[in-house]
């Protein structure tokens, strides 16, 4: 098997993998009754833009167009199509793997060009008739943001890789903010100035090739490449997991020490079995954003409902419902956290365990109930 066949096989299996995930979520009935009409309607609407621009078209400023183009470019990632098992065959099939990566590189670039071309094609009526841009100016935008995408992808694969933790996160956020500002202040002007745009594009492309070439022609970055590739490979499934509240999300632990109680400080000084269970549960809730978010979400929705609903009796009804719901939510969470874990499940039958569950539910519901009661007092 040559490198192109191997690459082709990997792309095919990736497409099949993503399609199967999609099929698992969207069945053929939804596909038939939702996507097909939406596609037909989309084509009709797009055609109508060429005849007459919609009224809301004036809201699509050039700044917005550039921002969307920036987002598309910035969110594009290189795919290497390497797999974990490749690590085993690295020594004997080094050239094959490197050549496959080169095909994958070309594939990533081509995909980015198509993505950007598709975007420009979609907004073409607005660019032509709303912003009165010439064809050369539009090509200039396309070239500029496509090359910016190459630049951003190569940057993504090298930037901040040596840093870890909060410093890395802060620098990443600052860098993104700086790029957005740069886009809105500088790129919007450069992108429609053909000569300037082509010069900057050339620099972007040169930078991306020079910075990415060492990675492309080597296997020493295999582990990083696999991690990144795996992330991209599982992007769709992770998105579904994030959107679905019922699916248990696998947790990837990166932080060595927790933020709160860094030196394993104790919440309760007196050590009893009951306090042990309570401390375990409270610390897990405090350190797991998903659980904490659920608590705040529940309280937030109730507060909005109390503010929005006018009759007092309904507010009281909501408050009573919230109290019951909060207790039951905390109870379920206890079961999910404590009883699903063999470490603490063994103590299930103990009286201390049951008392701890009741007390923890009571204590943890107090702050939320106080806030809801204050809001209710203000709104009655």
């Amino acid at each position: 098997m040559n490198s192109f066949q191997l690459f082709g096989q990997r792309v095919k299996s990736d497409i099949l993998f993503q399609y199967n995930i999609f099929k698992a979520v969207v069945d053929w009935i939804v596909m038939l009754y939702l996507f097909v009409p939406a596609l037909i309607a989309g084509i009709i609407i797009y055609r109508s833009w060429w005849v007459q621009l919609p009224e809301w078209g004036s809201m699509i400023s050039f700044q917005l167009v550039c921002f969307i183009a920036f987002l598309i470019a910035f969110l594009s990632k290189y795919r290497t199509f390497v797999r974990e098992a490749d690590g085993v065959f690295l020594n004997t099939h080094k050239t094959l793997l490197i050549n496959m990566k080169k095909w994958a590189y070309a594939h990533s670039l081509l995909k980015t060009i198509l993505k950007m071309t598709f975007f420009i094609a979609i907004i073409l009526p607005f660019l032509l008739h709303n912003h009165h841009l010439s064809i050369i100016e539009i090509i200039s935008i396309l070239v500029f943001y496509t090359s910016f995408s190459f630049f951003s992808m190569s940057l993504n694969s090298i930037s901040f890789t040596k840093l870890e933790g909060w410093l890395k996160k802060i620098l990443e956020v600052l860098f993104v903010i700086a790029l957005i500002i740069c886009n809105q202040v500088l790129f919007v002007h450069i992108s429609i100035m053909p000569i300037a745009s082509f010069v900057v594009s050339f620099l972007f492309i040169v930078w991306s090739v020079i910075s990415y070439y060492p990675k492309l022609s080597s296997v020493v970055y295999f582990q990083d490449e696999f991690t990144q590739e795996n992330k991209e490979h599982l992007r769709l499934i992770n998105l579904i997991f994030t959107l679905s509240k019922d699916v248990e999300k696998p947790k990837i632990i990166k932080r060595k020490k927790p933020l709160l109680y860094r030196e394993s400080g104790r919440i309760f000084k007196k050590r009893t079995p009951q306090k042990g269970f309570m401390e375990l549960f409270i610390k897990i809730i405090l350190r797991n954003f998903e659980y904490l978010f659920g608590y705040f979400q529940l309280t937030g929705v109730t507060i909005i409902a109390i503010i929005v609903v006018p009759p007092v009796f309904l507010k009281v009804f909501i408050l009573i419902g919230f109290t019951f719901f909060l207790f039951s939510w905390l109870n379920n969470l206890w079961n999910r956290v404590i009883l699903s874990h063999p470490f603490s499940k063994q103590y299930e039958g103990r009286t201390d365990f049951k008392k701890a569950r009741q007390k923890t539910g009571f204590y943890l519901s107090i702050p939320a109930l106080i806030v809801v009661l204050i809001v209710m007092r203000i709104n009655v």
């Binding site: 632990i253 020490k257 079995p273 269970f277 470490f343």
Partner: protein, 238 residues
């Protein structure tokens, strides 16, 4: 009276699908009993049945009252959000271990296993061997009367393996009854008092090494591996 008396008629994950059957044995104070068998023979199922973790079990697991049981699983499990110290504190609080006892029991173990520096870190970020060591500390800090160990040597470096063997020996001297499932037959041969051979979910043979040698018609020169092979694969396959 034995520390633990096991009489499993049958057990499994589903009502009509038994994984193990007719397993009967006892565990006495200070005794180390090795559970041996091929992959999928039913060793872990037997352990889970004893621990009460099997959904369907028909039989009786009897142990003396107020005995502390510790379990050292094959794959270490921790809370993602808690540090090792917090796991230790939790076990101490629940098992009623005072702070003085806790320090006396855990500090030497943390030092021996080189985990003292990492005690305020989340075990999920440890290496495989470190996680196994952390699990050993959590199992032994209770000073258990019965210690149930599933494949304890996997993931441990030679130093930690030796340390674990020493600790197992110390526990035995203290009177702990130990039930250990393992594939490492040469080590098991040296340290176990008795063996339970499980094959296809059934207790095929049990006894000391010399009793097993006798059961399969072997001389004293034959190892546990020879006996295991003879009893599971058959005579003609050697």
């Amino acid at each position: 009276m034995s520390l633990l008396s096991v009489r499993i008629e049958e057990a499994g994950y589903e009502l009509d699908k038994k994984m193990i059957q007719d397993i009967r044995f006892q565990l006495d104070r200070g005794e180390l009993v090795g559970i041996i068998g091929a992959n999928g023979a039913g060793k872990s199922t037997t352990i889970k049945s004893i621990l009460g973790l099997m959904p369907f079990i028909n039989g009786k697991i009897e142990k003396q009252e107020n005995l502390t049981v510790s379990y050292l699983p094959e794959h270490p499990v921790f809370y993602d959000e808690l540090t090792l110290q917090e796991h230790i504190d939790f076990v101490a609080a629940v098992e009623g271990i005072s702070d003085e006892q806790l320090s006396a029991r855990t500090l030497p173990l943390l030092e021996k296993f080189n985990l003292k520096e990492h005690v305020h870190e989340v075990p999920g970020t440890y290496s495989k061997g470190m996680r196994q060591k952390a699990m050993i500390i959590l199992a032994l800090m209770k000073s258990p009367d019965i210690l149930i160990v599933d494949e304890p040597f996997i993931g441990l470096d030679p130093v930690a393996t030796k340390l674990l063997l020493d600790l197992i020996n110390e526990e035995r001297q203290r009177g702990t009854g130990i039930l250990m499932s393992t594939h490492v037959l040469d080590t098991a041969e040296k340290i176990c008092n008795r063996f339970l051979l499980i094959d296809n979910g059934c207790l095929t043979a049990q006894g000391t090494l010399s009793e097993l040698q006798e059961q399969c018609g072997r001389t004293a020169n034959h190892s546990l591996l020879d006996c295991f092979h003879h009893l599971t694969v058959g005579e003609g396959d050697e």
